[in-house]
């Protein structure tokens, strides 16, 4: 009887460990979607890659605000009221413009609310967008390259010798 329950405990334990390992690895790579499907199949490859539009032309707030800012529909329409208006994707964009609705973009680089991350400070320090976002210009659909975990942030802060870069309240709120 004792042996039987002992074997049972071992089986439960092993199953638990295996479930944990599988769940942990799945959670990191699949549950947190690194390449979400966007409402409009916007291609950074065409805009930033082939046409070489600088990042800050659309993401205008990078240098002066905490948030980089997703461009407004108006900014899209600035070009696309003239360029390629017959394309079905642009027609979708125009429908958003006509109904006066924002496009429900899915956030790729999503930080928790308790993280204070100012884009302004990082861009003004002379960091390249590629350092965190990867080579966006070659991505058709944007993929999150970096882990955005605390250790990843701190690595960079330590290497560059950021003043008070390891203080909790520099990045947490």
């Amino acid at each position: 009887m004792i042996l039987k329950s002992f074997a049972l405990y071992i089986i439960i334990g092993i199953t638990g460990i295996i479930t944990f390992i599988i769940g942990y690895s799945i959670n990191d790579y699949y549950s947190t979607d690194r390449t979400p499907v966007q409402p409009i199949e916007f291609s950074h490859q065409i805009h930033a890659g082939t046409n070489e539009i600088p990042c800050k032309y659309c993401h205008i707030y990078t240098e002066r605000s905490r948030h980089a800012g997703v461009p407004s529909v108006q900014r899209c329409m600035g070009c696309h009221s003239i360029i390629k208006t017959e394309s079905p994707l642009i027609e979708k964009l125009t429908s958003y413009w006509e109904t006066k609705e924002p496009i429900p973009w899915v956030k790729v680089h999503n930080l928790p609310d308790y993280v204070y991350f100012p884009h302004k400070r990082h861009i003004r320090a002379g960091l390249d967008c590629k350092l965190c976002h990867g080579d966006i210009a070659s991505m058709d659909r944007v993929t999150r390259v970096s882990s955005l975990q605390m250790g990843w942030c701190l690595n960079c802060h330590t290497q560059r010798g950021v003043k008070n870069g390891r203080d909790c309240w520099t990045c947490h709120q």
């Binding site: 204070y116 909790c168 709120q173």
Partner: protein, 259 residues
């Protein structure tokens, strides 16, 4: 083993060195002139608005779960016709030798380079140790996740996180405003000057009883006020070395005329 002990002793000596706290970047200090304080409670209200504090309601208040980071203590001396009333606004004193910091098992409350006693919300596990150790009873605990109903969620401050159940919190000296001022100063290539930073309570105080500034800067308003002969700190004899300095209310001896 001996090496480890030697290293611990060395670190200990660094922190016990008399000049240690003078090596800070800043020493944020608040001076409260009790002569000017009339106990109106505007500071309390502004604190609620600035720091996303939930209003818990009557029942919760009844079991002492009120959420005010800043409270006004009333002291009444004497019987009815000859009454003397004193008000003392009490918030986290940001003690230089804080008792709360010694208790935290996960290092969620610590002293930073600005001389602030800060609380890291996402690190806190809610052991309640700091609140037990606190001399001034200023720490507040989230007994539940308080909801901000429509349309109140629209007035939340985006610079301050909304805390959840099981997290200890307290006055931060409006660290988000300190950070914003530093950010602005950095853009302009300057350092933070006296008067750049106003905490919510300082900004709101109608009589100007509160002053906020850097004690290390000898020309600051705070440093001058701190030399006043009326200065005192709360429970100074416990040697917690608070960063909040009070200026004593001076009242005439004998019965008061205005009641």
């Amino acid at each position: 083993m001996a090496g480890l002990l030697a290293r611990i002793a060395e670190r200990w000596n660094i922190h016990r060195e008399p000049g240690f706290f003078k090596k800070l970047d800043h020493k944020w200090t608040m001076v409260i002139d009790l002569d000017k304080c009339n106990g109106c409670g505007a500071c309390v209200t502004s604190c609620y608005a600035e720091n996303n504090l939930p209003v818990v309601g009557k029942e919760e208040c009844g079991v002492s779960r009120a959420f005010s980071w800043l409270r006004i203590e009333r002291y009444v001396e004497g019987e009815y016709p000859d009454v003397k009333v004193k008000f003392i606004p009490v918030m986290c004193q940001h003690c230089s030798k804080a008792p709360c910091e010694t208790g935290c098992p996960v290092y969620a409350t610590y002293h930073n380079q600005d001389g602030l006693n800060v609380q890291v919300y996402n690190r806190c596990v809610g052991t309640f140790t700091c609140a037990t150790y606190c001399t001034y009873d200023v720490r507040r605990f989230n007994w539940r996740t308080y909801k901000f109903e429509q349309p109140l969620d629209q007035q939340l401050n985006p610079d301050v996180s909304v805390r959840e159940m099981g997290i200890m919190e307290k006055c931060t000296f409006c660290i988000q405003r300190i950070r914003a001022a530093k950010d602005k100063a950095k853009d302009e290539g300057k350092t933070v000057e006296d008067g750049d930073i106003q905490t919510a309570c300082v900004q709101t105080c109608p009589t100007g009883a509160m002053t906020f500034g850097d004690l290390q800067d000898a020309d600051s308003k705070v440093a001058k006020l701190a030399k006043s002969p009326r200065r005192y700190k709360l429970l100074e004899e416990l040697n917690t070395d608070p960063s909040v300095i009070y200026l004593k209310r001076v009242m005439k001896e004998g019965p008061s005329k205005h009641g």
